[in-house]
């Protein structure tokens, strides 16, 4: 079994970036100066990934104001709407308002992804909004039904995946907190399956992952088990994965073992014990280990401190697996 440790979402901004972006809003610095700091912080995140052996490389998504903003600002059909609470956190996103069926602008999203780290090439992972979460959280005034929109966004994200695959990305992770916070049923669930079929077809051999967090995955597990993706990730702070029924199809399992809602650092040995039991039950072909929810719920230093436990977790899991 392959064990992968990787970033699973946006990383916190560094203190220097916090101050610079605040100053930018207050007219006390220039956009150019802030861009330099973004580049520095992106390099720092790359350094953390390098040191801790986090791969595929994801980068920090430091420039993204929220999960949807690059889409809401670049794809056609959207405007940026009101401030809206981001699930059960003290973060907010600006709800995209969809006025017409959306259309992607080729190349637009690629420009928003974290830059490639210099030096030897590493496998890269793009982290994108999942079609169900995207469709479910926009203010949909397009006239399309929610399930049709989910399917359409799946096709558009598939086109994005196709483009990014050509640009060298090998893995694609879709953020789907809404799948577990508000599991779909009936036609909406079928819309989700159809969306991921479109994405999977476009991945052309690349790895696809659905990452769930902010909710218990158990109610959505029958649907998650049907999604044609390489990996399904669950947030262990919300889900008792030992109670999830093993799926008949052999595929990868993602475990969100770091909880960014607390600054307490997880004990690697406790994580390994739990993960081993879960692996024993589910027998995944690969195990992806990372944070449940994105780490930007923590300050930079705290996030980094918590991530430092991942190499020990990986080693602990590999040792039980015969070192593979």
């Amino acid at each position: 079994m392959q064990t992968v440790t990787s970033l699973t979402g946006a990383f916190p901004r560094s203190q220097a970036l916090v101050e610079a972006t605040r100053d930018l809003d207050r007219g006390r610095t220039t956009a150019e100066a802030v861009q330099e700091l973004f580049a520095q912080a992106e390099a720092d995140v790359g350094g953390i990934e390098e040191r801790l052996g986090l791969e595929p490389r994801a980068g920090g998504y430091l420039r993204w104001q929220d999960l949807f903003r690059p889409f809401a600002e670049t794809w056609e059909g959207f405007t940026v709407g009101p401030l809206t609470r981001w699930f059960e956190t003290n973060q907010f996103f600006r709800q995209p308002i969809l006025h017409a069926p959306p259309a992607r602008v080729p190349g637009a999203i690629g420009g928003w992804l974290p830059p490639k780290a210099p030096g030897a090439p590493h496998p890269r992972k793009a982290i994108l909004p999942g079609p169900y979460t995207f469709a479910g959280l926009v203010d949909n005034r397009s006239g399309e039904t929610a399930e049709a929109l989910t399917h359409r966004l799946g096709r558009l994200l598939g086109e994005e995946v196709h483009e990014l695959r050509a640009a060298g990305y090998s893995a694609f992770q879709f953020q789907e907190p809404l799948l577990v916070a508000r599991p779909p049923e009936g036609a909406r669930a079928e819309g989700v399956v159809a969306a991921y079929k479109a994405i999977s077809a476009a991945a052309n051999g690349g790895t696809t992952a659905v990452w769930t967090y902010f909710g218990d995955a158990r109610p959505a597990w029958p649907l998650l088990s049907r999604l044609p993706v390489s990996v399904v990730g669950v947030d262990l702070s919300e889900t008792d994965a030992l109670e999830l029924p093993p799926t008949s199809e052999r595929r990868g399992l993602g475990l969100g073992v770091i909880d960014p809602r607390t600054s307490l650092v997880e004990d690697p040995s406790e994580v390994v014990r739990l993960a081993r039991a879960i692996v024993e039950r589910h027998r995944p072909i690969s195990l992806w280990v990372g944070s449940g929810a994105p780490l930007d719920l923590l300050p930079w230093e705290s996030a980094t401190r918590k991530l430092h436990g991942l190499p020990a977790v990986r080693q602990g899991l590999e040792s039980t697996d015969g070192g593979t």
């Binding site: 916190p12 901004r13 907010f92 607390t262």
Partner: protein
């Protein structure tokens, strides 16, 4: 006490003027800060222009004035700002506080600041971890309240951050660590309840008691995090009750940017809460749909006052008096009793410039007057 319909109030903090920030740091005022100070003083007359200290401040000796005097001036400025905008209940725009979270936490023991966390866009807050038992160093906001009481021309309403928000905006290490094993959802929830109630009992209640002792009669308990975890709405109410237990004052609760439907009826258990001060304008549409959620109070038979958010605090667009009026009248119709409505911004206006916030507040006052006139009918 106001008896007119649709009285107005502020909700929280204002943006600190540049002259205050520079002055508190002992830095010389630049031309823009000097001009800003003088311009607002011409409008509000918050300090005598011929005061030698003011002349020093606006001259080349601003560093000699001292941080305490600058803070007093800032508090007076904001007090007069609200009063000039026509508000019935005022405070000092939280001029002396470092945000609504950091300031109270710094008055307590058992916390350690870890760093900044993003709230949205380029907005962040400094977040602490609860690392030990909660203890209060000394009751806070007391000096600022006494200053406001001494200078306010109308009723003073003190805002104070509630126990649930202080707990939710902190990392809970101490109470979580006391629970053995994997820190799953249920463990986190139990530890959170302990954290909230301890903050309420050990820090907020003694502070409220000290404020009431000094004559504070109207207190807004701010729970902007109150809607973060709907399944914990009962903990929000429990924290409110623990903080106010045995205290005699007029308490309100401010909750914003939340799905209110998910909070009720649990929140109704906050027994000593006289007014719900809520945000609506942010979610409003041309059809005034943002106010429909008020029906929930009717559904549960709750007849408390509503602090009605009519100003979107995250947009520069200044709401017209007519739009404010429409919002008030829509809410009034839904509640079926205009006497229950207080009119306010959705939240504190500190994310807007002082000019924009002032224009918004003035139009809020005008809108309330239009609503009053419309209900009164032709003279």
């Amino acid at each position: 006490m106001t008896t007119r319909l649709f009285p107005t109030q502020e909700i929280g903090s204002l943006m600190k003027p540049r002259w205050q920030l520079l002055g508190q740091r002992g830095e010389a005022l630049d031309t823009a800060a000097q001009t800003d100070f003088a311009r607002w003083n011409d409008v509000l007359h918050f300090v005598p222009g011929d005061d030698p200290m003011v002349r020093k401040f606006l001259g080349d000796k601003s560093r000699e004035v001292g941080a305490d005097t600058v803070r007093d001036w800032a508090a007076l400025f904001m007090l007069r700002y609200f009063e000039a905008a026509g508000l019935d209940r005022v405070y000092d725009g939280e001029a002396r506080r470092i945000e609504m979270y950091e300031y109270p936490i710094r008055q307590m023991r058992g916390f350690q600041f870890l760093g900044h966390v993003r709230s949205f866009d380029n907005k962040y807050y400094l977040k602490a971890a609860g690392t030990g038992e909660v203890r209060l160093d000394h009751p806070y906001h007391v000096d600022e309240f006494e200053f406001v009481r001494a200078h306010a021309r109308g009723a003073a309403k003190l805002p104070i951050t509630g126990p649930y928000t202080l707990a939710d905006w902190s990392y809970n290490e101490y109470y979580l660590r006391r629970h053995e094993g994997w820190k799953g959802r249920e463990v986190r929830r139990r530890a959170q309840r302990e954290f909230v109630v301890e903050i309420a009992r050990k820090a907020i209640r003694p502070t409220l008691a000290a404020l009431i002792e000094k004559g504070c009669r109207i207190i807004q308990i701010d729970e902007p995090a109150g809607g973060t975890h709907p399944q914990e709405a009962e903990v929000v109410a429990e924290g409110f009750n623990a903080a106010t237990e045995g205290l005699d004052a007029e308490f309100s609760m401010h909750v914003c940017f939340s799905d209110y439907r998910s909070l009720f009826p649990a929140l109704l258990e906050a027994k000593r809460c006289k007014q719900w001060a809520l945000e609506f304008a942010n979610r409003d549409t041309d059809g005034r749909d943002g106010y429909e959620v008020l029906r929930i109070l009717k559904e549960y038979g709750d007849t408390r006052e509503v602090g009605l958010g009519v100003l979107d605090v995250h947009r520069d667009e200044v709401e017209s008096p007519e739009r404010v009026k429409d919002r008030i009248l829509r809410a009034s119709k839904i509640l079926g009793d205009p006497r229950r409505i207080w009119v306010n911004p959705d939240c504190g206006l500190r994310t807007r410039s002082l000019d924009i916030a002032y224009a918004k507040l003035q139009n809020m006052d005008r809108g309330a007057a239009l609503a009053r006139a419309e209900l009164a009918g032709p003279a």
